[in-house]
C-alpha cells in the first residue's frame, strides 16, 4: 500500500483515508485543533511553511475546496499558486506529468491535486521527487481525504468521541468520493454503526463490505442517529435515468424537519457542499439549529493546515 507513509510511519502524501492508521487520523485531528485559534488572531498567520511553494492543481472546477486550501497554505505563510488546468495548458494537450515536471522545475514543494479521474493524485505522487508531497483534493469517485477528515473533526467537536455514535450517510453514495472517505475514516476511528441510506440505483453494489448497514427507507435509517451526513445529488445523474426527478428524490430522500425529528434530538446535520436546496435537503434544515454545515467549512481550513504542516515538516523525533 504505502505510498502515503514513510518507512518510519510518518505521513508522506495524503491520497486516501483507506488504510491510514487510526493514530495518524487522530494526530491530524489533534494538530488541526491546535490550529483552530490561528484564525482568531490579529495576524492570522504562523510562519511554519515560510519559503515553501504550494501549487493548487485543479483539473476540475472547485471553489470552496480550492479556496480553503489556499487560505490554509497562506495562514502557514507558504506561497500559493492556483492553476485551473481545465482552462490552461491541458486544453493545448499537455500531458499531466509534463505539467507536473514543469512546476517541479519551478521548485514546488507540494501539489494539491483535483482531477475527474480516479487515481490521478496517486499517479502524480508516484512520479514526483522525494521532497515533494501530494495532497488529493478529490479524484473521480475515489477519494476526498481532507473532506473526510474535516467531517471527522466536525463530529469530534460536536460529539466529543466516536465510540458511541450512529452515523448515517444519505444519498448518492455511488458517485461520491466524499462518502468513501467518510466511511473509511468512521470505521477506522471506531464508530460502531455507520449507515448508508439511498435508493438502490445510487448505492454501490457490495457497499456492505465496507462495514456499513444499508437502508433504502430513509425513515428507518434515520432513527436514533447522532449524525446525519447528506450528500450532494449531482444533477447530471438525473439525466442517466437513475432517478425519476428531483421532486421525486426529495420526497423519498430529501432531509426535511419531519424526517430529521426521527434522529436523536441532538443529532447534527452535515453536508460537504455545494447544497441543492429542495433536492437533498430543505432550507429549513440547512439553515436550522441542528445544521453544522458552515462550521464544517471553517474547520476545513484548520484540518488542511494540519495536513500541510505534517507533510512539510521533517522527521518527528
Amino acid at each position: 500500500m504505502n505510498l502515503q507513509l514513510t518507512e518510519d510511519g510518518r505521513l508522506r502524501h495524503l491520497l486516501t483515508l483507506d488504510g491510514l492508521p487510526r493514530a495518524i487520523l487522530t494526530q491530524i485531528l489533534d494538530t488541526a485543533e491546535s490550529f483552530m485559534d490561528v484564525g482568531e488572531r490579529e495576524v492570522k498567520k504562523v510562519p511554519l511553511l515560510r519559503g515553501k511553494s504550494i501549487f493548487n492543481l485543479f483539473f476540475e472546477p472547485s471553489t470552496r475546496t480550492r479556496t480553503t486550501f489556499e487560505i490554509a497554505a497562506k495562514r502557514l505563510s507558504a506561497d500559493v499558486v492556483n492553476l485551473n488546468i481545465a482552462t490552461s495548458s491541458q486544453t493545448k494537450g499537455e500531458a499531466i506529468l509534463d505539467t507536473v515536471d514543469n512546476l517541479a522545475a519551478m521548485h514546488a514543494d507540494m501539489f494539491i491535486v483535483r482531477h475527474s479521474q480516479s487515481g490521478a493524485a496517486h499517479f502524480i505522487a508516484r512520479h514526483v521527487a522525494p521532497h515533494i508531497s501530494v495532497i488529493n483534493a478529490g479524484d473521480g469517485r475515489h477519494a476526498h481525504p481532507t473532506q473526510g477528515l474535516l467531517d471527522m473533526f466536525t463530529i469530534r467537536r460536536y460529539k466529543g468521541a466516536f465510540h458511541n455514535l450512529t452515523v448515517a450517510i444519505v444519498g448518492d453514495v455511488l458517485h461520491s468520493r466524499v462518502a468513501r472517505s467518510q466511511i473509511h475514516a468512521l470505521t477506522t476511528l471506531g464508530v460502531p454503526e455507520v449507515r448508508v441510506i439511498g435508493p438502490k440505483t445510487l448505492l454501490p453494489t457490495g457497499v456492505e463490505q465496507m462495514g456499513v448497514k444499508v437502508f433504502h427507507d430513509m425513515e428507518a435509517g434515520l432513527r436514533g442517529c447522532d449524525v446525519v451526513i447528506m450528500l450532494r445529488l449531482q444533477n447530471e445523474r438525473m439525466k442517466g435515468a437513475r432517478l425519476p426527478s428531483a421532486q421525486e428524490y426529495f420526497k423519498f430522500f430529501g432531509l426535511t424537519p419531519e424526517k430529521l425529528a426521527l434522529a436523536k434530538p441532538d443529532a447534527i446535520v452535515m453536508h460537504p457542499g455545494p447544497m441543492n436546496r429542495g433536492v437533498e435537503i430543505s432550507s429549513e434544515v440547512a439553515d436550522g439549529p441542528q445544521s453544522v454545515i458552515l462550521p464544517q467549512v471553517t474547520y476545513g481550513i484548520a484540518v488542511r493546515m494540519a495536513v500541510m504542516a505534517m507533510l512539510a515538516g521533517g522527521s518527528t523525533v
Binding site: 494526530q27 494538530t31 490561528v38 505534517m310 512539510a312 515538516g313
Partner: protein, 164 residues
Amino acid sequence: MHASLPDANTLIARLAEAIAPTLAPDTLIVGIHTGGVWVAERLHVLLGCKLPLGTLDISFYRDDFSRIGLHPQVKPSNLPFDLEGRDILLVDDVLHTGRTVRAAMNELFDYGRPASIRLAVLVDRGGHELPIRPDFTGLDLDVPAHQNVNLSRLDDGHLTLTLA
C-alpha cells in the same frame, strides 16, 4: 547521571521577590509551554496577579521545524487578553540558546504590539546563541553543551530541577 540542583520552589519564591518591586499592577504574565507555564502559574499566585495567566506554545514558530517537524503534542496558545500596548512578563523554565524566547516573542507580536516584554527564567544555564538575556533569573549556571537542565512536575504538583 543526575546531579541535584537547588529546590525549584525556593528558586521560584526568590524569583517572585525579585520581580515584585518592579511589577506594574496591569502586567500580563505569559508562560511558555510546558515548564514555563508551571513556573508562571506559581509566580502568578505569589505575585498576586489579578489578570488571567497567558500560555504560549511556540511549536508553530520554531526555527528547526523544517528539520524536526511539528511537535506531536502542540497545545493551543491561550492569551485571554488584548496585548496591544501592555507590559508583558514572559516566563520560561530554562534559558539555553534563546531560540525558544525568540519564537515566543515572534508569536506574541502576531497577537498585537506590546508596550514592553521582560523575561523571567528559573534557570539561565548559559550557551546563548542569540542576543537574549533574562531580566530576572532564579539560578545562574554554566552547564556544558552535552548536559541538560530539566524541570519536571510530579502528580502532586511538586517541581524538581535535574541536571543530566
